[in-house]
């Protein structure tokens, strides 16, 4: 049994554990694999804590009344007139500068930014079809640390069990010089910036190129080192950086 097998079976294993011990083959693997045993231990702690949480309850009406009072005091809502078409008693949300800004800017950037994060999540979490050789040892592991057994897959961002060649060679250096092609969304984004804030066009374009280059660079590394969870996390963060750029533009260009 490999770390990957344990990882995939973890939900059922943890459910089953409530009724008894793990299957023998799993127990045997956990005894020899510090990473998996640590992961199982962490998950057991979390599951145990979750069971102690009380079921959520609907707050009593006085809580909602209190919140409404605060929102009225802050000038965020007001009561509807008696002849309002909407449900009587339902408060009206007052316009604020932020909400006004949303209506006057490139609204389409919001879903694009969200899609970027979602797309990034998919790319990062997508398992590669051809995993790296499983019997390669971690690089420069401290002699005192327990070596991972053959076939154990890193499971946390801080586990660096990279293949020796891949981790020591900055193989993506050449990728940094590649000029990423702007996507259709990028072109639409730059077009909106050009129209609404022409003086900012060059700045946003440079930032977009930089973020796209970071995504390309990290993606190339992840492709070469698919088991490096830390690198996958950086890839996700690079997508988040691009989403942040879109969000800043959404807020700033008028």
């Amino acid at each position: 049994m490999t770390c990957s097998d344990v990882e995939q079976a973890l939900p059922e294993l943890l459910d089953g554990e409530a009724n008894g011990a793990f299957p023998t083959e799993v127990e045997s693997h956990l005894q020899s694999c510090a990473a998996c045993s640590g992961l199982v231990s962490d998950l057991e702690t979390i599951a145990g804590a979750a069971r102690t949480l009380a079921a959520s309850e609907e707050p009593p009406p006085r809580v909602w009344a209190r919140i409404a009072l605060e929102l009225r005091a802050e000038g965020l809502i007001r009561d509807q007139p008696a002849d309002a078409k909407l449900a009587p008693g339902r408060p009206i949300l007052l316009p604020t500068a932020a909400r006004r800004r949303w209506s006057s800017t490139a609204w389409w950037l919001a879903p694009v930014a969200a899609a970027l994060v979602a797309g990034g999540s998919y790319v990062v979490s997508h398992k590669p079809a051809t995993p790296v050789a499983q019997n390669q040892a971690p690089v420069n592991a401290a002699p005192s640390s327990a070596p991972s057994p053959a076939g154990s897959a890193p499971t946390t961002p801080w586990q660096c069990g990279l293949p020796a060649q891949a981790s020591m060679q900055p193989t993506v250096t050449a990728q940094t010089t590649v000029e990423p092609e702007p996507s259709a969304d990028d072109q639409q984004f730059l077009s909106a910036v050009s129209t609404r804030a022409p003086s900012m066009r060059a700045t946003y374009e440079n930032q977009l190129k930089a973020v796209n280059a970071d995504i390309l660079e990290t993606q190339a590394y992840v492709d070469r080192n698919p088991r490096d969870a830390e690198a996958r996390e950086h890839l996700m963060e690079a997508y988040q950086q691009k989403a942040l750029l879109y969000q800043i533009a959404l807020d700033r260009i008028q």
């Binding site: 965020l76 971690p138 401290a142 586990q159 660096c160 590394y221 690198a231 963060e237 800043i248």
Partner: protein
């Protein structure tokens, strides 16, 4: 035709004089126009209760916030031209100020600089594309957002500080006992004397520098994609360190006690371990930048 000949036969000195006069007249008229639209300062005063909520939103210009009296907000707006107006409204304890650019306004003539004196416990939301933005000696929550704006926050305690910029440098000095969350795409982030239950910095291409002490407990997470991370702390700091750069180098001069033995350490690219009582958790991450942890 004759007149043309006459004109063209004028001595060169006369022609030069005419040109100079025309240029001077143009400059003079421009100066007069500028004088007509010279800076205009407007002052707004509002009476508020405890924990007021104050927002300022400007496309171009600086925003400076300082503590004033406990129940009054004083806003001084300096407009660089009449191509921009200031919209302002008060709803109870909430005050909203926004620059309103008229058609054809650009960065040069759309600038409004704001100076605010506010109750120290107020919640503050500032937005400026160009900045700079600064806030000091406050105790409420702060949210600052900009594109190229430089951000400077000093002497703030007990409030949460959220900052988001594209490429402006961010400097926090003596910020205590609050959640600090900073996101930047390519701006450098400098933290000096910043402590709290959560201090989180994420930058794409900017560097992150920290000079302080983690010993009061808390969670410190510094992440940058290509930038460097430099941390300077006292020799007796109490913290649990985790650091890794995927492609860059890491370096430290602390005698770290190994704690995460199940994570194999990649010499030169990662280190893990504790000092003192491990009061705080410190996580330093970079994809290709260098990470340095040094004793002060």
């Amino acid at each position: 035709m004759v007149e043309f000949r006459k004109a063209s036969s004028q001595p060169a000195s006369i022609k030069n004089t005419a040109i100079v006069t025309a240029v001077l007249a143009t400059c003079l008229s421009s100066a007069l126009c500028s004088a007509a639209f010279a800076e205009a300062a407007k002052e707004f005063r509002y009476t508020v209760g405890a924990h007021a909520n104050i927002s300022v939103d400007t496309q171009y210009g600086s925003i400076s916030v300082k503590p004033g009296t406990d129940n009054e907000v004083v806003v001084t707006a300096t407009l660089k031209s009449d191509n921009v107006e200031v919209d302002q409204q008060q709803n109870g304890n909430r005050i909203e100020i926004a620059s309103h650019l008229l058609r054809g306004t650009d960065q040069r003539n759309g600038q409004v600089d704001y100076e605010l004196l506010i109750p120290p416990d107020a919640t503050v939301n500032l937005r400026s594309s160009t900045g700079p933005m600064s806030a000091e000696r406050l105790q409420g929550d702060l949210t600052l957002e900009g594109a190229e704006a430089a951000v400077n926050v000093r002497d703030v305690e007990n409030g949460h500080v959220h900052i988001r910029t594209m490429r402006g440098p961010i400097t926090l000095t003596d910020v205590r006992n609050g959640h600090v969350e900073i996101a930047s795409i390519s701006g450098d982030v400098h933290l000096k004397g910043v402590t709290g239950p959560l201090v989180q910095v994420t930058s794409g291409r900017g560097g992150i520098s920290y000079d302080g002490d983690f010993s009061s407990g808390g969670e410190y997470r510094f992440t940058t994609h290509t930038g460097d991370i430099r941390v300077l702390v006292p020799a007796d700091v109490s913290a649990d360190f985790k650091a890794r750069s995927v492609l860059g180098r890491v370096q430290h001069d602390f005698p770290l006690k190994p704690r995460h033995s199940r994570f194999p350490e990649e010499v030169g690219r990662s280190f893990f371990g504790t000092t003192g009582q491990a009061s705080s958790e410190v996580v330093l991450r970079s994809f290709s930048g260098r990470i340095r942890l040094k004793q002060r």
